[in-house]
Symmetry: C2
Subunit: 234 residues, 2 copies
């Protein structure tokens, strides 16, 4: 009995109402939310029998959903032992940032002056910055974190590459795992201003400067996150 009781409430009703897709994908989407929103902590086991009973789906269908999420890095499959919510080591977290840096810096560098010429392009980014600032003003640090994620997702989206978007979504899902249990304000507060600064550079068409700034940004963010995790441990 490793899973908590609270997170099971209302799951069955929620999975039945999700949009048209295969049952396995609906279950996967539901579990993905629960994991990334911290409802069930890293390391906890997901019992096949218990979950299939609560979700009202067969074990086979549930296992298909497990495969999907395992492939995304959210769950880990241990043979004959079951599936667990993934726990990111410091090395793995650094690796996530390694890939973020490669993708995001590349996207920004190749933007060139195009971003300066069409202001509409950056509208989603401006909205994310505004949302983050508003959330910070009212102390909603979880909202700041979400806005920050959206900012980076929209930044990558400027490249118009479905595969880069998908990779970013996976990285963000793993990042949310790493955020669990840490002080949300300390985690997210510094990046309201940094996002705004970065956006200014991009909007000015200074893509090389923006890429360099983003590299510093991400390196600092990783160091910051590692430090926060360190104090949360014995």
């Amino acid at each position: 009995m490793t899973t908590t009781r609270s997170f099971l409430d209302g799951l069955a009703a929620e999975v039945a109402v999700l949009p048209r897709a295969s049952t396995a994908e609906r279950v996967a989407e539901l579990l993905r939310r629960r994991v990334t929103e911290g409802e069930l902590p890293p390391g906890s086991q997901l019992s096949e029998e218990q979950l299939s009973a609560v979700l009202q789906v067969s074990r086979n269908t549930l296992r298909e959903a497990f495969r999907l999420l395992g492939h995304e890095g959210l769950l880990v499959h241990r043979l004959h032992r079951g599936v667990f919510v993934a726990e990111l080591s410091d090395d793995e977290l650094a690796d996530v940032y390694r890939v973020r840096r490669a993708i995001e810096c590349d996207v920004v560098r190749r933007l060139g002056p195009a971003a300066a010429e069409d202001p509409e392009l950056l509208a989603p980014l401006r909205a994310d910055v505004a949302t983050g600032a508003a959330a910070a003003a009212r102390g909603d640090w979880s909202g700041v974190g979400t806005a920050n994620m959206h900012f980076h997702a929209h930044l990558v989206a400027l490249a118009g590459s479905p595969r880069l978007d998908a990779a970013t979504a996976r990285l963000h899902a793993e990042l949310r795992l790493a955020f669990q249990g840490a002080d949300a304000e300390a985690m997210h507060a510094p990046y309201v201003q940094r996002n705004a600064d970065l956006l200014d550079l991009v909007a000015a068409g200074r893509s090389a400067d923006a890429a360099a700034a983003l590299e510093d940004y991400l390196d600092a963010s990783l160091a910051h996150l590692l430090a926060l995790r360190a104090v949360g441990r014995p």
Copy 2:
């Protein structure tokens, strides 16, 4: 009856002998090989009933394997219609190269002079170049293609990032899909020399030059591949 007969031969024996892993993963690995080696062409349907009979696994297990490969982009899942070997459109192929360029150029750029100082680091790349040249000398163009893939995989591996390695493996699997049915010599021959040239730049520690050259290389490679596909179509 959309699948050919030949590719089914000996599958059951092969899947039984694969190393210790879950049956679903063994089946996935086997199908992955069949797809990337062109044994079954893009667009062909994989019948659950037929495959489960031939592989001697249950449909549930087979479906788990399908989920894994679908997530890798090798198979596409059409609801209530079944799974098919993915067909890459020109746009998707360009997107694959978009991600390759982001990853590989980033890796090369960040190598710096380190590669020049430790020659052992580049040993796998040298071996791949030699293998490719030898294969070209005897007209083994499929072997040239394989060596080329290994070269790029080893290049990315210099970064020491498991996630970049995994992403590269997925991209290469999709690339192999695009290679199907094209003239292997025309497809792979030009890159024996380009790999050697690129390696020289890297070995000299000129990482910025190498990154720029690699960018040209990949852009040219994409254009080349698109042109070859165009002539293979009506």
